[in-house]
Each structure stands twice: as structure tokens, then as C-alpha cells.
Symmetry: C2
Subunit: 327 residues, 2 copies
């Protein structure tokens, strides 16, 4: 692996978001390599298209996870059990002062920190970004199309000091990063908790009848469901406020992520040209909108709420309706 | 009002269910009169059709509520605030030993008993039937079509002794009546609590898009929603069991009300020939399926559950999702 020795940032996985953030780092001057069991060849190549601009990226890629020991920073968009398994696998190769950055925020900084501590790697710095720095999708030919680059994205470590260290490591590559108080804040700001499970559950028969046809936002969010999403968002904001965190309402996130306009509700925003949600489909009970977002976001939020004596009836409703179908 | 002096049973209102139960009493030899502010004439006449049989019923009808003082029994299918208002209005005219029978069961025996006590009429006997003795609908020409006569229907007073007295008053006219322990049992057995709100809420965007087109059971209850309804029914049964009440599962009610078969789930039963639910439509957020059944059935059930420390997450979910839209 000598040929990759100069690489300073390791991206774990070759998913859409892994490739997109690899391109983001490279465009800002970082040396990037990818680690994935599926790397059939020694390089990964793909085009990134943004506005009128198209660029071909080529990254070294290895199936040898020990290579991460030679990097200064490891970045992954893995989630859930897959993320924890990857952390257990990476732990032996990580070193003091190395940064492990995960996104999106799913309350994983604490369990990852425990995994590293159990492996004797307490000196690794763990941080979390609320979501992906770019809004993107994959075109048919594998080209990654960047819709928007978020203009503000929260980052945090397990506490303020570690968050600041992490920010200083990454801010040259991801200039939209803004320091959050802690990694509870970055996870509470993951608005998938509001956007994903409720519309699936409140359209259950229609979604399950034809998940590939059902457009999650266009078909699934009418004024009533939008109203419930705002009330559910108020519960999330109340949990944040009780923790002394200044969370942004879901509508502010949407406007910040995708473009500002005069929309007053989620429903209105969905039907503006700024919103890239027109053709989101394929997310039923068996999808990550339920299997990941209910246990990974809604359940931890209600546990925080319980400890703070904050009622979260709409979060609880999603848990009650989804739990019987969780694997 | 001398011409109505012989009448022993007063039916309040001239709704479909009022007329149907009036015909039921009359067919079993009772003398029946109707009381309604809308009585334009001194008689109400309508046909009742059942199998090949058709019979014309004519009942005396009055707008003078004081006439109920001359009857031995008052029967009403009014619900909610309308029922309580009617009880306040009737109280001055009611007398010792008179029976006030209400249906369907909406936890109203206690508040009605309080209204009568406040009016100095504690000696009036109040009882509740779980639901209508007959399954019926109104044909276009006003004819009442009787689909089925229930073969078992629970009746109760505020306690066992009053329930037995009420049963003895009514059993000659409504032979399907079976004594329940108390009026909590008759209300907990009202399966509208399981059948109505959940399918509306879990199809909210589709229902509200076109309430008149959406078939509540055929379009609204798939295997997933049926599964949730059974789990919600388990919560209801657990509340009953904790109160020492032997409640019947919702599927047993359906089979008893409409006809037995081999269906193992609500979903399966809906799609059998016995089930008369094919064309139930028009029930959205503004309908009694939500405005009556959530506050009138689900909320009281959860209050009982709270006092018994029984978790009712699916009842709670319905309350959380419906409450923002209640008037």
C-alpha cells in the first residue's frame, strides 16, 4: 500500500455520499483514498457534474482496512449497525490524534467513542456532521449530480473542545461547517426524524400497495400531514431547548439546504422550485425511512425527552405505529 | 297529548337508528312514540325491509318533550354533547323507576347519571347497549333495510343490579340482550374504537383528498393496518381484563354481528361475503369516526388504562395524530 502513503483522508465505502464527499475533499486540496470491501480495482473513477461543470475524479481504493492507520482522518457515511461494525473493524488501526468523522447524525458519537475506548483508542477524536455537505443524486451512467452545496452544516464532537478540534481539521475542506455544542445537537438537527417516518405511516396502505410509485413528499405530505410534521418538529425543538441547544426549525433547515423562499409550511416548501423532493419514491415500511430513522432518530429523541419530562406524543405515535413492523 | 297516553316507550330522535329500534320494539309488542324537535307532523311513517319481508310502521311523534313523563322507558341513539344536552332537557320530565336506555356505548352512563342526580332524579334507571340491535341502512326512498339482527348484544347499568333491572325491562323486546358487568364493559365493547380512527389516520392524505371516494374498509385496511388494529384491540382487551371484564376480541364481535366464517384477521373478514362494509365511505377528519370516536372512546379507554398502569401506545398514537384536528 506504499502508493497510498501520502493520502491523508480515508473515505469508508463507495456509496453515492462517500463518493460525493471524497470529491468535496479532493476539490479543496485534500489527498483522498477510499476503503471498501467491494473495491474490485485499485482505483475508483467517476464524474461529478454541477451546474455546467463536469469533472472526472479518480481515487485510489483498497480492500485493506489497515491502510487507515496511515491517514490523518477517516470519514464515513455508514449508518446504524453497519457503522458500528465498521468502527469495531477500524479501531485496531486507528491512532492518537486521528479524526473519525461520521455523517449524517444518528446519535452515534457516544457508541463509537465506547467502541474505540474498549479497543484502547480513547485518543481518537470522533465527530459528527448533521448531514451530507452536498445534496446530490446518481445519474444513470454513475455520474454524481450535485444539486446544491449546503451553506451551513453543524459539526460537533462529544463535547465542545473536541468539536472545535474536529472543525479545525475539516474547515478548509468543508467551509460550510459550523460548530455545534455537542453531538446530541448535530443528531437532533437531522431532520430525517421529521421528514421521513410520519408521511410513510400516515399513508401506509397507499405506500405499501406500491412503494415504487408513491412519491414520499408530493403524494404523502398534504396540509394535514405537514401540520403534524410541524407539531412533531416543535417537540424536537422543545427537547433541544431543554438541553440548552439552539436548534433550527425543520423549515429553516430546508430553506438553508435547498434555497430560501417565502414558503410558510413544509407543504408549501415542497411545492416550490427550490425543493428537490419531487421524485423521492420507493420508501415504505422496509426502507431506511422506517428501519433506520425510527430506531436511530425518533427513539433516542424520546429517550432524551423522557429524561427531561418533555411530552413527545407525535414521536411516540411514530414509534407505536412503526415498531410492530421493525425487523 | 292525550292520544299518546298509552305509549310506553319513547324514542328520542328520528334518525335511522331511532326508527330502526322503534320498529324493533313495535314488532315485539311495545307501544312506541317518537319525540323530536323536527317532527313536522303528528306521525312518522316508514317502511322496514328485511329479507323478502316489508312492513310499514306508523308512530305517533311529538315535539313536546314533556310527554316522556307519561312513558315507562326512554330510548335514544344520540351521542356526545347532543346526548348530554338531551338528557338535561329530559331530566325534569323523568320519574322514579323510569328507564333511560342509550346506545351505542360511549362511556355516557356516568355523566348521564350525574345530570339526572343534579336534577333530583337519582331514581331514574340508566342503562347502555354496546351498539345498535340491528345492522341497517336507509335506502333512497327512506325505507330502512335491516341487514342483520345481532344475536348477542351487551347491556349494563352503572352497576350489576341496575343492569339486571334494565335487562328485565327490555329483554322481551330485544331478546339478543346479554347482561354485562357494568357500563364500562358495554362501552369498552364498542368496537368503533378499533374500527374507525386508525384507518382514517393511517390513510390521511388519501382520505382527505376525496373522503366521498375513499372506502374506509376496502381501501383503508390492508394487512398492515389490520395488524395494527389487532394490536390496538389487545390493548383494549388488556384494559378490560385488568377491570375483571370478559371482553370479546374485535374479530369475534364482527363474526357475531354480521355472520361467522373462517377469517383469521380483520383484513380477511372485511373481504368475506358476511361483512357489510364494502361501501362505507365519506368518513374523514371532520366525521364522527374522528370527532366522536377519538374523544368519546379512545380517550376514556386511555384514562382507564392510565389508572391501571396498562400501556396503550396505539390508542395514544390515535389521540396524538387526531387531536390537532379536533374542533
Amino acid at each position: 500500500m506504499n502508493h497510498m502513503k501520502d493520502t491523508s483522508i480515508a473515505i469508508i465505502g463507495t456509496s453515492l455520499f462517500s463518493k460525493a464527499i471524497a470529491a468535496e475533499f479532493a476539490s479543496h486540496g485534500a489527498t483522498v483514498g477510499m476503503v471498501a470491501d467491494t473495491c474490485g480495482q485499485s482505483t475508483v473513477q467517476f464524474d461529478v457534474e454541477e451546474l455546467d461543470h463536469r469533472q472526472t475524479h479518480t481515487f485510489l481504493c483498497t480492500t485493506d482496512w489497515s491502510w487507515i492507520s496511515e491517514t490523518t482522518c477517516v470519514v464515513t457515511s455508514l449508518v446504524g449497525e453497519e457503522l458500528l461494525a465498521a468502527c469495531r473493524r477500524m479501531a485496531p488501526y486507528m491512532h492518537e490524534g486521528q479524526l473519525l468523522a461520521v455523517f449524517p447524525g444518528y446519535f452515534m458519537v457516544e457508541p463509537i467513542t465506547r467502541i474505540l475506548a474498549d479497543a484502547g483508542k480513547s485518543s481518537v477524536l470522533v465527530c459528527e456532521l448533521t448531514s451530507s455537505p452536498v445534496v446530490c443524486d446518481a445519474l444513470g451512467d454513475g455520474t454524481i449530480h450535485i444539486h446544491k452545496r449546503k451553506n451551513k452544516l453543524k459539526i460537533a464532537g462529544i463535547d465542545a473542545a473536541e468539536g472545535l478540534q474536529a472543525l479545525n481539521c475539516l474547515k478548509d475542506y468543508l467551509p460550510m461547517l459550523a460548530l455545534a455544542k455537542n453531538a446530541v445537537e448535530t443528531s437532533l438537527e437531522n431532520i430525517n426524524t421529521i421528514l421521513h417516518p410520519l408521511p410513510v405511516l400516515m399513508n401506509l396502505a397507499t405506500v405499501e400497495h406500491a412503494p415504487q410509485r408513491f412519491r414520499h413528499f408530493i403524494d404523502g405530505v398534504d396540509e394535514h400531514i405537514s401540520h403534524l410534521m410541524h407539531l412533531m418538529d416543535d417537540e424536537r425543538l422543545a427537547v433541544g431547548a431543554a438541553l440548552g441547544l439552539e436548534l433550527d426549525p425543520v423549515l429553516s433547515h430546508l430553506k438553508s439546504y435547498y434555497g430560501d423562499n417565502d414558503a410558510r409550511t413544509i407543504y408549501e416548501y415542497i411545492h416550490t422550485p427550490e425543493c428537490p423532493y419531487d421524485d423521492i419514491r420507493g420508501f415504505g415500511l422496509a426502507s431506511r425511512y422506517i428501519t433506520l430513522d425510527v430506531p436511530g432518530l425518533i427513539v433516542p429523541t424520546t429517550k432524551l425527552a423522557r429524561s427531561l419530562n418533555i411530552p413527545t406524543p407525535l414521536h411516540d405515535a411514530c414509534i407505536a405505529l412503526a415498531t410492530p413492523f421493525l425487523p
